[in-house]
């Protein structure tokens, strides 16, 4: 009996110990992800650059808002009778709209100079959709902007598209729904040129207010953001291949097709300049991680740096020709676009390979 009891106790203890042992089994080994490579590279330069551009962007969006508000007040005083507004306040209206357009022309490239980082960083990418990349709900529901625009007069524009696009088409009258239908010789040269019309003041104000709101939010988000190696590599891999999108925009823009273009965006600033600005920001990013890349493959590190510079120069050369009055044919634009895309894909591929070697995750 005593023996049985002892045996039973021993068996029970054994079973309990086995249970505890299985519970204490080491947690599975960590997968090789970014977690293992907590940022040891100094990436402050990226953040400093971003915050600087963000601050400038906020300033110019406030200027745009101020000019839009002025125009709105004038339109409101005229009871939104734009013909009457044109007749009674031509100079003030011209000044306000010129100021708004100027502010837009400053703000848009500023954003492009940070877009490479914003769009390529998971934490911040949503702002790129809102400000510059998002489609309208009517065009592309899956990639549409996440907001509706509520106008001061109560109208709601459901998912109208990215804010820079909305404001560009409003200010330069490339989308009838956002204009008053009233043309005006804003520069006083005696003729109605491209973009000389009175925008719908409600749309302009709502768009400018939203731009101000989201650029301010972006500034806060950027301040809170701590760049990681994964962020940097993701930005490079994600943004460099977008050459195809931008070249497609350029191919279909007024800069290639002239008046035959049906595109309502990218009518003021050539997409080629945008591409250069984006690449410039990506060069900043790459500069910060280059030492890390060199540790894995010094030859590849040099090649990537050179490739980025070559791609930017390639685009700059095409832009310079355009600025000098040369109008590329659609086929030339197609060839150039293909070449830019090929170079960009090669760079993105090389960066992705290095990231894999360094065990740094590139976010999906």
């Amino acid at each position: 009996m005593v023996y049985e009891k002892k045996f039973a106790i021993a068996t029970l203890i054994f079973v309990l110990l086995a249970s505890v042992a299985s519970a204490c089994a080491p947690a599975a080994e960590q997968s090789s992800t970014a977690g293992e490579n907590a940022s040891t590279t100094d990436l402050d330069g990226i953040k400093t650059y971003l915050l600087g551009k963000s601050s400038e962007l906020t300033t110019s969006s406030k200027s745009l808002k101020a000019a839009s508000d002025k125009y709105y007040e004038m339109a409101k005083t005229a009871n939104f009778d734009y013909a009457a507004l044109r007749a009674s306040n031509a100079l003030e209206v011209s000044a306000a709209l010129t100021a708004a357009k100027s502010a837009w022309i400053v703000a848009s490239p500023l954003y492009e100079q940070m877009e490479g980082i914003v769009a390529g960083t998971p934490n911040l990418a949503e702002y790129d959709v809102i400000l510059d990349a998002g489609a309208s709900g009517a065009e592309d529901p899956e990639n549409a902007v996440p907001f509706d625009l509520t106008l001061p007069d109560g109208r709601i524009l459901p998912k109208p598209g990215n804010l820079f696009g909305v404001l560009e088409s409003t200010l330069w009258g490339t989308y009838a729904d956002y204009t008053s239908g009233i043309e005006a010789d804003l520069d006083g040269n005696g003729s109605i040129d491209f973009g000389e019309n009175l925008p719908d003041a409600n749309v302009l104000k709502a768009g400018a207010d939203a731009l101000d709101q989201y650029t301010t939010e972006l500034g806060s988000a950027a301040s809170a953001w701590q760049p990681t190696e994964s962020d940097a590599f993701t930005a490079l891999v994600v943004m460099v291949p977008t050459m195809s999108e931008y070249f497609n925009s350029w191919k279909n823009s007024r800069f290639i097709l002239g008046d035959a273009s049906e595109q309502r965006d990218f009518v003021v600033i050539s997409r080629l300049l945008d591409i250069q600005n984006i690449l410039g920001s990506l060069q900043i990013v790459y500069g910060e991680v280059k030492p890390l890349v060199e540790s894995a493959d010094s030859a590849q590190a040099a090649q990537i740096e050179q490739s980025l510079a070559d791609l930017k120069r390639f685009v700059a050369d095409v832009h310079a020709k355009e600025q000098n009055g040369y109008q590329h044919t659609p086929e030339e634009a197609d060839v150039l676009g293909a070449e830019a895309q090929n170079r960009a894909t090669a760079i993105a591929g090389q960066v992705a390979q290095i990231a894999a070697k360094l065990n740094i995750s590139v976010e999906e």
Binding site: C24, A28, L336, Q353, E364
Partner: protein, 800 residues
């Protein structure tokens, strides 16, 4: 003198030329193959662009490119792939001729031939190097490659690079490395081939003659790279015919564009169902998992967005479309393989997908709104067809597909949160968690319980550095906060994927199943065995029957839960945690009552006597006792029954019924053994010791139950969470003993211990008081003790 001078000058000239050639060669030799290839490629592009206005410049660039090829690449390529080398050499000749003729169209075609020739040569060199064990040569030449055209949403393949790295360090075999490298490169070039043909159609439509020629030549060049795979799969005759078709296409693109469309159709027919790099079993499983999961969600989301024939929630329709797109993309990737299994059914499935897509699209654009029942019916029909078509083993190991679906749902959650639609965000969050719970969580419980805990906190109400998603959504937190938690969750999910990828062997799955059942079953068996063994007298032994009845009912309930269709489990899985919380609370309440009955018969009976002193007799005390014991038996087993069934279902899907049953049987035997040991141990002990041991066992289990239940209540947000700062407990204390470092959990455990111990002394005190007051007054001396009888002692002595 002049003669000598002349000869000297000539000698100097020759020496200079020789030196510059040597330098050039040395320079080229120090240039990596990738750099050389890129130099050649970009030089030829520049040459083409300047052909019409600077023929001389073009010629110089072509010459430089040819020199670079001869010095840096030709040796390697001509050795490994002589055909590629010949194509390159003849193309350079064609380039020079086209410069002379200012023929940009021919130039573009020849340029494409050179580039694809270099790619073909490099591919062969890499494969040869791997086969001969020379990892360094493979690594040197691998960067001479292209990638799938990258977008914002797709990432370049890295499989080949990683494989070669591992090959060099000896982590992978030659065959495995070759497989990975081929999968990457062949997939890339087939994608590029497809793109070329697509862009060719566009270029032709736009009348771009130069681009047309280039793209047709590129397509032919990519086929050249894929020809070994084509030969292996289709045979020499088919390859010859296809090569001829592509040659016709190239000629037509330059000489006879009117026939291009016709030639394209022939080429596309030749490529139909050809997949150069077959999907690996892991990729097949992944896509099969995505296909099934995404499809099952289409009707669910659609039904939430349409009421009375009108779209009430646009975002739900968009989610339905997103899930449909995911399912169809996965189906498209598998189509060739499915078609080889059953052509007719595959065609039928494709047609159903197209029909479903059209209906969703029309609802999305507002043209017409299909009834949710119609969408459900279509998805059911499609799911049933796919169930027959898709091999079972593709659906095992589909954890990767589950993670893809979880990611997609979390994307929907973010979109909803961004739009301020927090109820939709919560719905998406629950859907994502339901997939997690019915899929990967089952294995994480065993192989990475700490990770499971972390995921749970991030999905629900964690209060760490990143608050849980349920908490944030409930409190309508800022989008940035929700996004930050999502990013943290993604990191943990990536870790989980890596864990699950390593633990798929049948033994691992059996062990998984066994440990889950053993751990959950242990607690039930300890309670029941302890109680049953201490019911020793004939009269008490009858109280074992209701406990057994409760256990039996719980097992039947568990079996019924198992038999429910997986789809129902899927939708119920959203509520799994809350169901566990409710049943756990009932289990604790019943256990507390039963403990009191057990230890304080008079307490229990007097409580019941009070209860029954009311006018209406609702229950006889015996009936009440039986009900309590039945509930004890039931809740002890079923408390974890629902979740165990979910987990075992997931394991069955992965490892098959046999493996899981094996694990369950082994653990069941272990649990029964423990129960028998507890029973035998207690049976042979004196009664008081039984009471003590039973009390200790049940008390321990009670503390574990209270702690675990408090944790579940905190997970679902029914109990607040206040973390004990500075107290860092290992995860297994929580998993096994219900001890978590929160004030609520520890406090409730302490309170329950005080309650049980306190009620014991209270009841004892009451009992002694009653006996003392009932005893007749008799003189006694202080020197002689007065023993108070205990109702359960074997003998009662009263001495004076």
């Amino acid at each position: 003198m002049p003669k000598i001078l002349n000869r000297f000058l000539i000698a100097v000239l020759i020496a200079t030329l020789a030196a510059s050639n040597l330098l050039g060669a040395a320079s080229a030799a120090s240039t990596s193959p990738a750099q050389a290839a890129e130099t050649i490629r970009s030089a030829l592009v520049q040459a083409q662009l300047s052909l019409t206005n600077d023929a001389r410049g073009s010629a110089d660039l072509v010459q430089d490119a040819e020199t670079m090829y001869q010095t840096a690449l030709s040796t390697g390529i001509s050795t490994s792939n002589s055909e590629a080398h010949l194509r390159i050499v003849s193309a350079f000749k064609a380039l020079k001729e086209s410069i002379v003729e200012s023929d940009a169209v021919s130039f573009a075609a020849a340029r494409a031939q050179i580039w694809t020739g270099i790619l073909a040569g490099s591919t062969t060199i890499v494969e040869d190097a791997i086969q001969s064990g020379d990892g360094l040569t493979a690594q040197t030449w691998l960067p001479v490659r292209e990638f799938r055209t990258a977008t914002r949403f797709s990432r370049p393949n890295v499989g080949a690079t990683v494989a070669v790295e591992n090959f060099i360090t000896g982590k992978t075999s030659t065959d495995a490395t070759l497989l990975s490298v081929r999968a990457d490169l062949l997939d890339t070039y087939q994608a590029r081939l497809t793109e070329s043909l697509r862009d060719l159609t566009v270029a032709d439509g736009n009348g771009f003659s130069t681009r047309r020629a280039e793209l047709a030549a590129l397509a032919e060049g990519y086929l050249f790279i894929l020809s070994p795979a084509y030969l292996e799969q289709r045979g020499i005759e088919a390859l010859s015919q296809t090569q001829a078709a592509f040659a016709d296409l190239r000629i037509s693109a330059t000489d006879d564009p009117q026939l291009l469309a016709e030639k394209l159709m022939i080429v596309e027919k030749a490529l139909n169902n050809f997949r150069a790099a077959p999907l690996s079993p892991a990729e097949q499983s992944r896509r099969a998992g995505q296909l099934v999961r995404f499809l099952s969600l289409v009707a669910v989301e659609y039904g939430r967005g349409v009421v009375d024939g009108r779209v009430t929630r646009d975002i739900e329709i968009q989610e339905a479309i997103t899930f449909y797109t995911g399912a169809y993309a996965a189906f498209s990737d598998l189509k060739d393989l499915l078609d080889a299994r059953d052509h007719q059914q595959t065609v039928q499935a494709d047609a159903l997908f197209v029909s479903l897509g059209n209906q969703l699209s029309e609802t999305g654009t507002g043209k017409s709104v299909a009834r949710p029942e119609a969408i459900q019916s279509q998805t059911d029909e499609l799911a049933a067809l796919l169930k027959i078509l898709i091999p079972e083993d593709w659906l095992s190991n589909s954890a990767q597909g589950d993670f893809d679906v979880i990611a997609s749902m979390l994307d929907q959650m973010l979109v909803a949160a961004r739009s301020g639609e927090y109820d939709l965000a919560e719905s998406s969050r629950l859907d994502a968690y339901a997939i997690m719970e019915t899929g990967p969580e089952a294995k994480l419980i065993v192989f990475a319980p700490e990770l499971k805990l972390r995921l749970e906190e991030l999905f629900w109400n964690g209060q760490g550095e990143h608050k849980g998603l349920a908490y944030l959504i409930k409190n309508r937190a800022a989008y940035s906060e929700i996004k930050a938690t999502r990013i943290q969750l993604d990191t943990s999910l990536t870790e989980a994927q890596a864990v699950l990828g390593k633990n798929t062997a049948p033994l691992a799955i059996a062990m998984n199943a066994g440990i889950i059942v053993f751990r959950e079953g242990l607690e039930a068996v300890v309670i029941l065995a302890s109680l049953m063994s201490s019911l020793k007298s004939a009269e008490e032994r009858r109280y074992r029957k209701p406990m057994w009845l409760g256990v039996l009912l719980a097992l039947l309930a568990s079996a019924l839960t198992w038999l429910l269709a997986h789809g129902i489990l899927q939708s119920l899985a959203r509520y799994g945690e809350k169901l566990e919380a409710v049943v756990s609370i009932i289990a604790i309440a019943v256990l507390l009552l039963i403990m009191n009955w057990f230890f304080h018969n008079t307490y229990w009976t007097s409580w019941l006597a009070n209860f029954h002193s009311q006018k209406r007799r609702l229950l006889s005390k015996e009936t009440g006792l039986w009900l309590g014991l039945i509930m004890l038996g039931f809740t002890s087993v079923y408390r974890e029954g629902f979740e165990i069934v979910l987990f075992l279902q997931a394991l069955v899907l992965e490892g098959g019924v046999g493996v899981v049953v094996l694990g369950v049987l082994v653990s069941f035997a272990a649990v029964v053994l423990v129960g028998m040991i507890v029973f035998r141990l207690q049976k042979s002990l004196p009664y008081m010791k039984i009471l003590v041991i039973t009390g200790v066992f049940i008390g321990s289990v009670l503390l574990q139950m209270v702690g675990s239940t408090a944790h579940v209540l905190q997970v679902v947000g029914w109990l607040p969470i206040h973390v004990v700062k500075g107290l860092d407990l290992p995860y297994w204390l929580g998993t096994w003993f219900g001890i978590y470092p929160t004030w609520e959990g520890l406090g409730l455990q302490f309170a329950s211990a005080v309650f049980v111990v306190g009620s014991y002394y209270l009841a004892e005190g009451l009992r002694k008081q009653r006996i003392f007051s009932a005893r007749p007054q008799m003189p006694h001396t202080l020197a002689e003790p007065l023993k108070v009888p205990h109702p359960k002692t074997e003998s009662i002595e009263i001495t004076t």
